[in-house]
Symmetry: C2
Subunit: 380 residues, 2 copies
């Protein structure tokens, strides 16, 4: 008997009630019955982003929503400022380049967080770069940026601040309207606690002014069709995933978004304390609450750690990505994750490291996590 | 108590076993465990297309797969031949135009089927138009084209024949390799008996030669990434929908593809005979087996018929689309549909027409359907 624990930064564990909501009878999408569900669900989805703007749901992975942000906001030949400090910053760059956009890259070491000053400097040097693409939570390095401070710089200008919240949403606080963030993209399989298959975008009025007249070639992801048909989808929506979204939002509302953010903060804190107690080192210069990136100790291999944890203990964590594939492993604490899931993951990590020859005193990591939960007032 | 019958051309009824397969535990997509499922499932998906080419699954609606076909095969400024005889032919045209492709349109009356001669003529007049976009089953008019005969013309040339099988797959016979069709796009929520959310594409070697070097801007739907990562998805695949696909293919294989085609043929024949027995007229010049498009009798309105059938009898059929919205209604016989579903739909149509003042002798349509089933040797 082996139970499965997904402690990777997406897909994340899906509550049974969400899975079963997806197993409800498929109904036709162009009926008043379905449109009522769709409207209610998209309307309530605003809460996840803390916005009064409309939220649009794509049938796509998060990358599709990123492409939508690029092709609806920038034209081939135009400049865009892109922060690259990991694999998902690279993805913004790749998408821009695929569409012939002139990328002004803020290139950072992986694991660093872009500063408001760096954004401001790029804005000054490139007054013609109207759109700034950032990654709130850079999943590949476990890093969070100070999005609120960055929005403070862009909000009263003609610049449009876009943020990839594919992994960050609900794990890192985001107050889109209050902070003045212009465009947010997200995916279903992370904090929203659904299987992969839906992606989201929401835009400020300032951003919409660009979208309306943007000339970049696009069709499937052309937001004008989504706006025209709202709450209906211009193509065929993923009916059963909308049922799941409805159920997930209900659960998130019951918990309360502040509590969801706080839970992620505490899980992140406990995980960081646990790995440090095991003598391991964090990779990120500014660790976030989506996943904890840990440097692989000398003599060990990332692949061996993740493989043993998964195959022997049923705990799926992630290795590194891109140029740091073998340098780090990442333990997520994202979505439908309880403190006992985190304790289980740390305990599995201890068994695994010990088995691979790294010196471990069993329970040291777990103890540090438990002490964190206790200190934070959530247990004991 | 009201049972629901989806007799619209997508979404179509989903078997409970498929819905429940989608409710299985979400696992991480980059694990050997999931990749094994993905590989097996995509491998077996070839059977649906009767091809030995690889099948790629997009997280998107069918329109996404259509966009993939366009952007991977044609460049802005180049010519493409597009058959337009309904809403989905128009969609090919719209996508091409969104990407600056020069559309050579074979414009037909809605309800007509393009002939091999018309394709041949366009090919002769436009030797520089390398790609031909067709719609095997034009859902908006209930029309099927003679794809095999058309492929006969293109197969030994340098032209690439693309066909939209979003509604046609499994309802109309398709032998991709034997017929020499180059590119096929499809969706999950039709003959495949799944909810909407996945789309498919498969390509011949001839088509791949173009894809490799095509310059049209694209990223999310760039097939080169899908090929590089096969069977993995370059982005995050819709894990739970892959479970469903696996289950659907199992059921289709158990029935046998020839039997699936034959079932659709007979359901189509029974429906056509039933509506004719009620004194109604078919809209299509070459009716197919996906849905039967029926002219609305004088004095009635399409919207009233579909609304009453849905709200009073729980039977969802479709009205018209685009410029023929009010001219026709469409009864589908697509996917997980039995002869009794069709009999139920015809019976609901009779009640509805009678209630709206159209003269009906109860049971006349049903009788014609039953006699068809009997004559075809499947009942009685």
């Amino acid at each position: 008997m082996k139970k499965h624990y997904i402690m990777a930064p997406g897909p994340t564990p899906v509550p049974v009630d969400v899975l079963l909501a997806g197993a409800k009878e498929t109904i036709h999408h162009r009926t008043p019955q379905f449109l009522e569900i769709m409207e209610k669900t998209l309307d309530e989805a605003r809460y996840l982003f803390q916005t009064s703007n409309r939220v649009y749901a794509f049938v796509s992975s998060g990358t599709g929503a990123m492409e939508a942000a690029v092709t609806n906001l920038v034209n081939p030949g135009e400049k865009a400022i892109v922060v690259v400090a990991g694999k998902f910053g690279e993805r913004w760059k790749e998408i821009c380049e695929a569409y012939g956009i002139n990328v002004v890259e803020i290139a950072l070491e992986w694991g660093e967080a872009v500063t408001p000053e760096q954004i401001e400097k790029a804005m000054k040097e490139h007054p013609d770069a109207k759109v700034i693409f950032t990654t709130h939570s850079e999943t590949s390095t476990g890093t969070v940026i100070d999005l609120q401070a960055i929005a403070q710089i862009t909000r009263n200008t003609d610049r449009v601040l876009v943020t990839d919240e594919v992994s960050g949403l609900l794990a890192e606080p985001l107050k889109m309207d209050e902070w003045g963030v212009d465009v947010v993209v997200a995916g279903s399989q992370k904090g929203i606690m659904m299987p992969p298959g839906l992606a989201f975008i929401t835009l400020s009025k300032k951003a919409w002014e660009i979208v309306k007249n943007n000339k970049c070639p696009r069709y499937y992801f052309d937001l004008r069709y989504y706006e025209e048909n709202y709450p209906d989808n211009p193509w065929t929506p993923a009916v059963n995933m909308i049922y799941m979204l409805n159920q997930s939002i209900k659960m998130i509302k019951e918990e309360g978004i502040e509590n969801v953010w706080e839970r992620h903060r505490i899980l992140g804190e406990a995980t960081r304390n646990a790995v440090k107690a095991l003598g391991l080192e964090l990779f990120s210069k500014r660790p976030g609450n989506v996943c904890t990136a840990v440097k692989v100790p000398a003599g060990l291999e990332s692949k061996k750690i993740t493989k043993l944890m998964r195959d022997k203990y049923g705990v799926t964590i992630a290795g590194g990505q891109g140029k740091i594939s073998n340098t780090i492993f990442r333990i997520a604490h994202l979505g439908y994750v309880s403190l006992f899931d985190t304790i289980s993951a740390i305990s599995a990590l201890e068994f695994t490291l010990h088995e691979l020859g790294y010196p471990v005193k069993f329970g040291e990591g777990v103890r540090a996590a438990m002490e964190t939960f206790h200190k934070e007032g959530v247990a004991g």
